[in-house]
């Protein structure tokens, strides 16, 4: 474990990413305290450029404060992304573990099912789902989770398939441990590294997916998200750049930070690979 932290600390990008993520999280948590007004309130004149009176990042077409929107949007965006990632990790690990461990017919059926999902373009599926199910935070989470679990399930499946033939797993089978116990205590703990590495990247792609949905107007209409702010101001992009640029920068910075953290995790968990790359 100490080794892990040591390796992670050596990765400058990862530290920067963590700091940025921490700042975004603080902004989300303190949104109510920093900006007492609701992000939906019309607090100022519309079309105020950045650095005007009382509007740090300007106002949108209705006179809502952009900075307030970004701060409150961070809340919704982060929660949505993290919850949907958690759901898809849970589903992905379960499906992948069962498929990889039991193999045979079970595996064939599950792989067929996974392939079914993978042949449909993910974003398209999410759009259709949200459109059918009426957009709420719940359905958006469901849609994102539904399109992001299959790659993870494949990853876990491959990991389990190779682990299953390791001698310590066979020894556990011989000592009479139940399959569930072997999956949970013997294999899972040894195959978590790739899942941990893909975690931040999945959160990042969930943010992008959610923003894209909101941009198309398919997000929860009662939730202020970054994608929604961009979507709402896309018609005035040329007249009022600040309305879409600042939330866009928020998305960019957060996703970049998550990718940096993912990269650092990867290097820290696969120290051999990392050393090769730096030398």
């Amino acid at each position: 474990m100490n080794n892990f932290f040591h390796a992670f600390r050596r990765h400058k990008g990862g530290i920067i990413g963590l700091v940025v993520l921490a700042l975004v999280a603080v902004m989300a948590l303190c949104a109510g305290w920093l900006f007492p007004d609701s992000p939906w309130d019309i607090v100022n004149a519309p079309y105020l450029p950045p650095l005007s009176d009382d509007a740090l990042l300007g106002t949108d077409t209705l006179g809502r404060d952009i900075a307030t929107g970004i701060a409150y949007g961070a809340r919704v965006t982060l929660v949505l992304a993290i919850v949907s990632t958690a759901v898809s990790i849970l589903v992905g690990i379960t499906v992948g573990a069962v498929s990889g461990f039991y193999g045979g017919k079970v595996d064939q059926v599950i792989v067929g099912f996974i392939e079914l999902f993978q042949t449909i373009p993910g974003f398209f599926l999410a759009v259709v789902l949200v459109a059918i199910l009426t957009p709420t935070i719940g359905t958006v989470i469901l849609a994102i989770a539904l399109v992001s679990w299959p790659p993870l399930a494949r990853l876990v499946r491959a990991e389990f398939m190779s682990m299953k033939h390791r001698e310590f797993v066979q020894a556990a089978m011989l000592s009479g441990q139940s399959s569930t116990r072997i999956i949970l205590t013997q294999i899972l703990s040894n195959s978590l590294s790739p899942v941990i590495v893909s975690g931040p990247l999945m959160v990042a792609s969930a943010i992008l997916l959610e923003s894209a949905l909101s941009f198309l107007g398919l997000g929860d209409p009662n939730a202020m998200t970054w994608g929604y702010i961009i979507g709402a101001s896309r018609s005035v992009l040329r007249d009022a750049w600040w309305m879409s640029v600042f939330p866009g920068v928020a998305i960019l910075v957060t996703v970049l930070a998550l990718n940096l953290v993912g990269e650092a995790l990867n290097d820290a968990l696969n120290p051999k690979l990392a050393r090769k790359r730096t030398s």
Partner: protein
């Protein structure tokens, strides 16, 4: 005799975080023309690192030559530029690696791979190169070179692949051939052929051969001179006859003593009632390309109570399949396996569970057979806990068992990576014993260990078999080891049982032609190992005389 290569006070260090830790500490030896120099040592002795250093093949940024010199025909090799090395490798040095499969490019025809060496170093025409490759293939005694030249590595047997690798190393007629454990991955009969080939080529070409090995039998077979290494330093070196028969260093004696050479075997045991009967057991594997392999062909066998039965065979003989079928990891296609009269074939997994604890297994690879994230006391206790033992009691029992296999104190609280290979294998044995089995299947349980550690683990197996009234099915490729610790031996070939009998009978009076061939192939037969038990107490005898 002219000296080809001289290593003097060579120091090779591991470079990590700016600090240098030496792994080869001042090694000196010389290689002459027209001789085979054997470098012997256990894993971690620095024998391979030294060889890589003199080929200029040390991984950059990980290992580097700290000091000392390597002189090849009055030319200093330490600090040579990368370009100069290219000229030397192949032309002056040829190298043969341990694993012939990974040393060859799997998607390139073998003839082309040898041809590539010639193409790079000479300006022969394509036709001339082809006839040179054919000549090389004939030199290494590959059958039907015209056909083989267009074969892919996977179409060749392990021995044929190693011949191709040797042909490649010899392509430029080097002065020195460096062979790093070239026969370790091969079966004993193939090993005998390759050893004969290397000896023959060395004599014909008059080159110097550096032969790296851990096996004193192999050394006795081919060495002219011997260098014994340990912990990165030379322990002893000299002519083969001196080191083999009159070793000076205690470590060399210890190594030689550990070689199961002329096994004495056990005394004949009284016929015991049978524990497991295997009748007409069969298993056929189907590959995805539709090929069928009969791994087990109507195997019938009895394992008696309290006996150690050796199962000997080369790779692909089906011995591991048999072991895994008996413990229930593989389902047989036909036949029956009975333990204490109860039929096991055809039981559902739930019904199997009852018998699980009666048949346990010790695995081959001590590094892969323990979960790296579990403390070893937990690893040992898991079985009994799964069978309903209370956790506290199971852990206490596990500690007792670990104590029994020589891992007492706080060893139980440590993790597998903190142990050596031999210690891990002890943990594997303790884990198997924790369920109080009646039959222990040990699948190549000592093959991955160094010779001196092998002896310790074998002793341990002998002790526990007596203490627990345990039957052991000891699967190995090494007839000598089997003869040493087994009551009876069964010899397998291509899924068939060719001979079963008392261990010493099988070894000294083999009936089947295949068993005879196996015994013939054991390296170093003509060497009669010195018996230190008689030589050592010389001082004591002197005292008596006075």
């Amino acid at each position: 005799m002219s000296t080809l290569l001289e290593i003097r006070d060579l120091v090779v260090s591991v470079v990590q975080d700016g600090r240098d830790t030496p792994v080869v500490k001042g090694v000196s030896y010389a290689v002459h023309a027209n001789e085979i120099l054997c470098v012997v040592g256990e894993s971690g002795s620095g024998k391979s690192v030294t060889a890589h250093a003199l080929m200029g093949l040390l991984p950059e940024g990980e290992l580097r030559v700290g000091s000392g010199s390597i002189r090849y025909r009055d030319r200093e090799l330490v600090g040579l530029s990368r370009k100069d090395w290219y000229g030397l490798r192949g032309k002056s040095f040829g190298m043969v690696f341990q694993e012939p499969m990974t040393a060859l490019n799997p998607v390139m025809r073998v003839g082309r791979q040898v041809d590539e060496v010639l193409e790079r170093h000479t300006d022969l025409s394509a036709g001339a190169r082809r006839s040179r490759v054919l000549a090389l293939f004939r030199d290494v005694m590959l059958p039907d070179p015209e056909q083989l030249i267009d074969a892919y590595p996977f179409q060749l047997s392990g021995g044929q692949r190693q011949r191709v690798v040797i042909a490649m190393a010899l392509a430029m007629e080097p002065d020195i051939l460096i062979a790093d454990e070239p026969t370790t991955a091969l079966d004993v009969t193939t090993q005998a052929q390759i050893l004969a080939l290397i000896k023959d080529i060395q004599a014909r070409m008059g080159i110097g051969v550096i032969f790296i090995t851990h096996d004193f039998g192999v050394v006795a077979e081919i060495a002219d001179r011997i260098v014994v290494m340990r912990h990165g330093a030379v322990v002893e070196q000299g002519p083969a006859a001196d080191i083999l028969n009159r070793p000076q260093a205690a470590y060399t004696r210890q190594l030689i003593a550990a070689v199961p050479h002329k096994p004495e075997g056990k005394a004949a045991a009284l016929p015991a009632p049978s524990l497991m009967t295997v009748d007409k057991l069969g298993k056929t594997f189907h590959s995805s390309s539709g090929r069928q392999v009969d791994a087990l062909k109507d195997i019938s066998l009895t394992i008696r109570q309290g006996e150690t039965l050796g199962l000997v065979g080369e790779s692909g003989s089906g011995k591991s399949t048999l072991g895994r079928t008996l413990v229930g990891l593989i389902r047989p296609d036909r036949g029956s396996v009975k333990i204490g009269g109860q039929e096991l074939v055809g039981l559902t997994p739930a019904q199997w569970r009852e018998y699980r604890r009666q048949i346990q297994m010790v695995f081959q690879d001590p590094y892969a057979s323990l979960n790296p994230r579990h403390r070893i006391v937990d690893a040992v206790a898991q079985g009994p806990i799964a069978f309903g033992e209370k956790r506290a009691k199971a852990l206490a029992d596990a500690r007792e068992l670990l104590e029994l296999v020589g891992l007492g104190g706080d060893a139980g609280d440590r993790y597998p990576h903190q142990f050596s290979g031999g210690q891990r294998q002890r943990v594997g044995i303790a884990r198997a014993l924790a369920l109080r089995p009646r039959l222990l299947v040990a699948d190549e349980a000592v093959s991955a260990l160094d010779v001196s550690i092998q002896a310790q683990v074998l002793d341990l197996l002998k002790t526990v078999s007596g203490q627990f009234d345990l039957s052991i099915l000891f699967i190995t490729h090494d007839l000598r080891v089997a003869t040493q610790i087994c009551d009876r031996i069964a010899v397998m070939r291509q899924g068939e049982l060719v001979e079963v009998g008392r261990a010493t009978d099988v070894f000294y009076r083999p009936r089947h032609e295949y068993t005879r061939r196996l015994i013939e192939s054991i390296p170093g037969k003509q060497w009669s190992k010195p018996d230190f038990a008689q030589h050592d107490p010389v001082e004591g005898a002197a005292v008596h005389a006075t």
